[in-house]
C-alpha cells in the first residue's frame, strides 16, 4: 500500500541510538505511538520487557543487528524488535513485534506492530498490513538515500528530506 508520510523523531536525542518514526498524512499520532497506545499490545506480557530493550538500545548498547528479528526477507532492513522467545508447548513463540527499519547501529525508524498469534505474519491481516507499511517506507528511504537526499550520520541523526509526499514519491519512480 503506497502512502505519503513524514519522518519524525521519536522522543529526544539519545546517547547511543537515535529513534525515529513516521506519521502518515493527516494522522494525529505517529505509527510508533499507535503501537504503544494499542491496548492489545499493552496487555501483552512482553510489553514491559520491550520497554527495557528499547531503553537499553538507546542509552547503552545501540541497535546491534542480532537484537532484531528478520521478518521473512533476509538482508532487508525491515526488522522487528521483540521481547524474546517463550515456550508454548513444543513451540517457541515470539508474540509481540514492533516493526522497524534498522538503518544502522545508531539509527532505527519504528513503525507499528502487534501481537502475533499465528504461524506466519501473512495469516494475520493487521500484522501483514503493518509490515507492508514498513516495507513501503523502507523503499522510499532507500530511494532517497540513493539519490543523496537523505543521510544517516555517525551519531545516528538523519539529515535531508523528511517529507515523502506524492511529488517526492513520483520523483523516485515508486508509484
Amino acid at each position: 500500500m503506497n502512502f505519503s508520510f513524514k519522518i519524525k523523531r521519536l522522543g529526544s536525542s539519545n546517547k547511543r541510538c537515535q529513534f525515529y518514526t513516521i506519521v502518515k498524512d493527516d494522522d494525529e499520532l505517529t505509527e510508533a505511538i499507535k503501537f504503544l497506545q494499542n491496548v492489545r499490545n499493552q496487555k501483552s506480557d512482553d510489553f514491559n520487557r520491550l520497554k527495557k530493550r528499547y531503553n537499553t538500545i538507546r542509552n547503552k548498547t545501540g541497535a546491534i543487528f542480532e537484537f532484531f528479528k528478520d521478518e521473512g526477507v533476509q538482508k532487508s532492513l525491515v526488522k522487528a524488535l521483540h521481547a524474546g522467545a517463550k515456550r508454548d508447548g513444543y513451540l517457541k513463540v515470539n508474540s509481540l513485534r514492533w516493526y522497524c527499519i534498522r538503518l544502522s547501529k545508531q539509527c532505527v525508524i519504528f513503525g507499528n506492530g502487534g501481537v502475533k498469534h499465528v504461524g506466519k505474519t501473512q495469516q494475520d491481516s493487521h500484522l501483514k498490513e503493518k509490515e507492508a507499511d514498513m516495507r513501503w517506507v523502507d523503499a522510499c528511504i532507500e530511494a532517497a538515500q540513493r539519490n543523496g537526499d537523505l543521510h544517516v550520520v555517525d551519531s545516528g541523526n538523519l539529515y535531508g528530506i523528511m517529507n515523502f509526499n506524492e511529488e517526492t514519491i513520483e520523483k523516485y519512480g515508486l508509484q
Binding site: D26, E28, L29, Q37, K51, N55, T56, T61
Partner: protein
Amino acid sequence: MAYNKEKNDRILEEFLSLESVDEKFIDKQMTIAAQIDNYLKDYGWTQKELAEKAGFKSQSQLTEIMSGHGNPTLRTITNLEEALGKDIIVSPDFYEEELEEKGWIHPEKTVHVTAGAFRSEFFERNDFVVVNTGYEGSIRVKRNEYSTADQMHVHKPTGTYG
C-alpha cells in the same frame, strides 16, 4: 486531523515511565551480547568462528546469546572469555585492583608526614578509558612532595597547590 506532537510525547513518556519486570536481567543479557559483538568486530571474527573456538556444540547457542535473549551459564561465559582472551563480565573491586597493578589507573595514596618536613600537595584529574571494556571515568590523583625544612628554600612549585 493534524499531527499532535504534545500528545505523541505524552504517550511516549507514559511508556518510558513503566516499571519493567526483569529490568536488571534484560540489561545484563543485552550488555553481554553487546560486549561480545564489540570483540567480534575488533577481531574480525564471525560468530561461527567464535562458537568453534569456545567449543560450542552448535552456533545456535551463541546466536541466542548474541540476540540479547540468552541465559548463559558461568561456564559458557568463561569458555567465551578463554576463546576471546578477554573478560566479558568483571567483578568491579578486583578488576580495579588489576588495573592498578597494570598501572592503568592510580589509587590515591596516603603518606605519613614526618615531623619537621614540609609537605606540598596538589591534585591532578586523570581521565581514563579502559579499552574494550566500556569502563571509563576520571580519578583525582593526589601528588605529595616532601621537603625537609632546610631544603625549603630550593623547593620549586611543580603543580597547582590545593
